[in-house]
């Protein structure tokens, strides 16, 4: 199972921050530091939760179980807002 950015979103980086627009909803979102790292990784193409977790654990001192559950929570939020979708 992989995650990818939907076609309903666009994003822009300003001064180290990433701002996301869901243009079919007209809603705007800001991402925190880890959120930006996940987002940047997803921008490279579809990712598994493991590959996202690798990106985070190589940048932050965090064990992979905690990391996975944090990422899982974030992905659920992003999916709920139609910014990310699941592909097989």
């Amino acid at each position: 199972m992989k995650y990818q950015l939907t076609s309903e979103q666009i994003s822009s980086k300003v001064g180290g921050e990433t701002v996301v627009l869901n243009h079919s909803k007209g809603a705007y979102y800001g991402l925190d530091e880890v959120g930006v790292l996940i987002w940047d990784t997803l921008e490279k193409g579809p990712q598994t939760i493991e590959s996202l977790c690798d990106a985070v654990t190589s940048a932050y001192n965090i064990d992979s179980d905690t990391c996975k559950s944090d990422i899982d929570g974030l992905l659920k939020d992003l999916i709920a807002e139609r910014l990310v979708e699941i592909i097989k």
Binding site: I10, S12, V14, G15, E17, V19, V20, L21, H23, S24, G26, Y28, Y29, G30, L31
Partner: protein
């Protein structure tokens, strides 16, 4: 044909638009304003009011339309053709409605980034003031002008981006409308003001001589409010900026869909890259407003 300049454009018009600066009769028209009958497509109510009249808006493949009951309807196409179908007999009223949202449709078609805001020049910087009606956009601009700053725009502010991608404010036209109580509060010289047809308690300051002719770099954007429970001044989070800009979009919101909404999003953040975007409580009373203005002008001159 009459010839004007506004928003950096040569405008040739069949109707008089006395608010605008006189233009060069030998110029090539960027925008033509003509009168004629308009067949309106299905129209929907908007949240836009002028003189207490609600605007209706519609679109088809070729144009955008505005209809103000009892005043006029407008058809804007191609970013260069504005057709006016007047209903009201008073030419000043027709002009007022032409140079506001209707001309705004043309500017939007030209790709300008538009804000419901007033703007002034401090030294070599453009400062822009936004806020809900009554938050004090025009009064704040009036206070800066009294302190020696030049006017750029009132009500409708148009921003473009220079070759380096930096936001610049395009001088609109030399008119600032101020409330009678602001005239008194800031001790404006009444003899230098004109009464306006929009509301009885409003006056127009028309700085025709000192009006800027070149674009000015946008450096500060203020969202003015009167809420005591919010800080006196704070920077907006990046993620709040596109939404706040959208709330201050001066035209029917239906114009911002898909590609045009994406463009608005990028333009909002493009402004935020070069300009400080602040939420500010409007100083209470005219004395405090003038104190803030004096301090800002002084600090800006030192910084220069």
């Amino acid at each position: 044909m009459r010839h004007y300049t506004a928003f950096g454009l040569h405008i040739h018009s069949e109707i008089p638009l006395p608010e605008l600066a006189e233009g060069d009769p030998h110029s090539t028209a960027d925008v033509c304003i003509r009168t004629g009958a308009i067949a309106l497509p299905p129209m929907r109510p908007t949240m836009i009011y002028r003189r207490g009249i609600k605007a209706f808006f519609g679109q088809d493949d070729q144009a955008s339309y505005l209809d103000w009951a009892g005043v006029a309807s407008f058809k804007a196409s191609g970013g260069n053709e504005l057709l006016v179908s007047p209903v009201a007999a008073d030419g000043n009223i027709i002009s007022l409605f032409t140079v506001s949202e209707a001309l705004g449709l043309i500017l939007f078609q030209k790709g300008y980034f538009l804000l419901h805001a007033s703007a002034v020049v401090l030294g070599d910087e453009a400062w822009c003031f936004m806020g809900m009606p009554g938050a004090g956009k025009s009064s704040t601009a009036a206070a800066f002008i009294k302190a020696g700053c030049r006017l750029l725009s009132d009500d409708l502010t148009a921003i473009t981006f220079d070759e380096a991608g930096k936001p610049v404010v395009v001088p609109a036209y030399p008119q600032l409308k101020i409330w009678e109580k602001t005239v008194a509060g800031l001790r404006y010289d009444m003899s230098a003001l004109e009464p306006v047809s929009e509301g009885v308690n409003k006056f127009a300051y028309q700085p025709r001589e000192q009006f800027p002719t070149k674009v000015i770099p946008l450096k500060k954007v203020f969202f003015l409010h009167r809420a005591r429970n919010k800080p006196a001044v704070q920077n907006l989070n990046m993620a709040e900026i596109p939404g706040e800009m959208l709330r201050n979009f001066p035209l029917p919101i239906e114009l911002l869909k898909e590609d045009s909404l994406k463009k608005h999003f990028f333009q909002s953040l493009q402004c935020a890259k070069s300009a400080e975007i602040l939420r500010k409580r409007r100083p209470e009373g005219f004395d405090n407003l003038e104190k803030w203005v004096e301090t800002s002008v002084r600090e800006q001159l030192i910084a220069e």
